[in-house]
């Protein structure tokens, strides 16, 4: 089976200087992968390299699906977004549909309804009209996950989705991501500092350290099940 995304001997960096080199691993369909490693090891660089946000200096990154028509879903670090924008939670989720809406055209009402459903799916239907900046850290993170769902991608990439949130919010976010993987059949690649807390849900782990990345399949992966919800089924 063709992997959803495959990195072959890739080096990522800026202005010709590699931050991380010789990265090779693949993410299969319905796989839950964590990128782990010490601070500054290059986990986020690998994730951003996968997305094309950090220049690929050598090697290859291949997607097993058409990136142009269906880009990967990306959840950035919460603090990467400016809270000064007067946007409601629903406005932020609607941005996930922008890849499908052409310039000059307004966002169709069916896309807005779908965005509202995504917000409901992450358990925040009541937050739709609330200002994004007024939400708690955990709620903001779930709004960003809802935005990623609105992309309708098969691949979900998250950059430290539980950083800076309290323990309760962290548990809810991890449960939500696990549910999206298990029930909706999404492939998940997640940068995390809290490996032990997500360990039981993972299929594989990519250890990033000393400028290298090594993938390791874990002993007792959680089997992915087919989605009961056709709306959020991967690639639908």
């Amino acid at each position: 089976m063709t992997p959803l995304v495959q990195i072959q001997d890739a080096s990522f960096g800026y202005e010709g200087h590699a931050v991380i080199e010789h990265v090779s691993f693949a993410v299969e369909a319905r796989e839950f992968v964590a990128l782990v490693g010490p601070n500054g090891a290059g986990k986020t660089t690998v994730l951003r390299g996968l997305l094309g946000l950090v220049p690929l200096l050598s090697g290859r990154v291949e997607y097993g699906f058409d990136r142009a028509s269906c880009p990967p879903a990306y959840v950035p670090q919460r603090d990467a977004l400016d809270g000064a924008y007067p946007l409601s939670a629903l406005d932020v989720v609607v941005m996930g549909t922008y890849a499908r809406v052409r310039p000059l055209w307004p966002v169709p009402s069916r896309e807005r309804r779908f965005a509202a459903e995504c917000l409901e799916h992450v358990g925040l239907p009541e937050a739709a009209k609330r200002p994004f900046r007024s939400l708690s850290g955990g709620q903001r993170q779930r709004v960003l996950i809802a935005r990623a769902l609105a992309v309708k991608s098969r691949l979900l990439l998250l950059d430290e989705p539980t950083s800076g949130v309290d323990v309760e919010a962290e548990a809810r976010i991890v449960d939500l991501i696990s549910k999206l993987h298990r029930e909706d059949g999404l492939s998940v690649v997640m940068v995390t500092h809290h490996f032990e807390r997500v360990r039981p849900r993972l299929d594989s782990v990519v250890r990033v350290d000393d400028g290298r990345a090594v993938k390791q399949r874990l002993a007792a992966p959680v089997a992915a099940e087919p989605s009961p919800s056709p709306i959020f089924r991967a690639g639908s």
């Binding site: 951003r48 997305l51 094309g52 990306y74 990467a80 946007l87 409601s88 941005m95 922008y98 966002v107």
Partner: protein
């Protein structure tokens, strides 16, 4: 009140100036919202100065190559406009090229402001003949607006307003979450270029018509005011534009009624609206905090009673 009737009269002598003022008041805040959201307010100070330097340079160049300024006002405006747009867009493109190096962005903008201000004065100093003719232009003498210049202004700013609304979601996406725009395969550089061109056109025409101070005032003050109360981007953009147009009209009225300079009157009215809105928002916040404290106190008393 007589001044108001006079302004609203169809035969009002400064009708073209009033309409130009309304156009600038409406469109400047539409691009100004991106200055505020992208934290480029310093650029809003520097660019009108760059535009002024462009005007001064074209007159200096004209005087050096073709002789003294004995051209009629319309040609003078076209010449000044060309210099203003050329300088503003060129500087914007240079700034856009270096935008990724955010660590020194304020230093770059500050340097550009200082150089543009110095260049304006030097061009005027070496071209004393042009100096006399350009003072009104650089001050932004809105009352000198002609039907022809109003027509051009209305068409150009109309196109800018259309683009700002039509491409609003793309401009919002590249401003709010540039990374997501890249992941979506959007041409981020092109959308940034479009935004910079819109900014360049608005500032150039604004400076030519209303002067650097008034242009900067309309770019920044209405968006800062509306941001205090807006809950969506549409409300923010449209509210800023409408507030800009309303304050332009109110400023025009004040200038006529109290016989004060037009540009400062308009910016002054916008400033008063900002102060009042800020005070209103502050009072509402205090009242809410007070209400919450009272509610939690009574809850404690109730619990104690039970």
């Amino acid at each position: 009140m007589d001044a108001l009737y006079e302004i609203l009269s169809p035969n009002y002598i400064f009708r073209d100036a009033l309409l130009a003022s309304l156009c600038i008041g409406f469109v400047c805040p539409l691009v100004g919202v991106y200055f505020v959201l992208r934290r480029m307010v310093f650029l809003g100070v520097a660019l009108p100065q760059v535009s002024a330097a462009g005007i001064a340079f074209t007159f200096f160049a004209y005087a050096s190559l073709a002789g003294p300024h004995d051209i009629e006002p319309a040609s003078e405006r076209i010449l000044g406009g060309a210099g203003s747009i050329a300088f503003t867009v060129a500087v914007l493109l240079v700034l856009a090229y270096f935008e990724r190096r955010r660590e020194s962005v304020e230093a770059r903008i500050g340097t550009i402001y200082a150089l543009a201000a110095a260049a304006t004065m030097l061009f005027l100093a070496v071209d004393p003949h042009g100096d006399a003719q350009m003072v009104a232009l650089l001050k932004g003498d809105m009352l000198a607006t002609t039907s022809a210049s109003l027509g051009f202004l209305a068409i150009a700013l109309g196109l800018v307003a259309f683009a700002a609304f039509a491409f609003g979601k793309e401009l919002l996406l590249v401003s709010f979450d540039r990374d997501l725009a890249v992941v979506f395969g959007k041409r981020v550089g092109l959308w940034d270029l479009l935004l910079h061109v819109l900014i360049g056109v608005v500032i150039s025409l604004g400076v030519m018509t209303a002067g650097p101070m008034t242009t900067f005032g309309f770019l920044i003050v209405p968006p800062v005011t509306v941001k205090l109360v807006a809950r969506s981007m549409l409300a923010f953009s449209l509210g800023s534009a409408i507030l800009g147009a309303v304050t332009a009209f109110a400023g025009f009225y004040c200038a006529c009624e109290f016989n004060v300079p037009l540009g400062p009157a308009e910016v002054g009215v916008a400033g008063i609206v900002l102060l009042l809105t800020g005070a209103g928002v502050g009072v509402r916040r205090i009242a809410r905090a007070f209400g919450r404290r009272r509610a939690s106190k009574s809850a404690v008393i109730d619990a104690g009673g039970v």
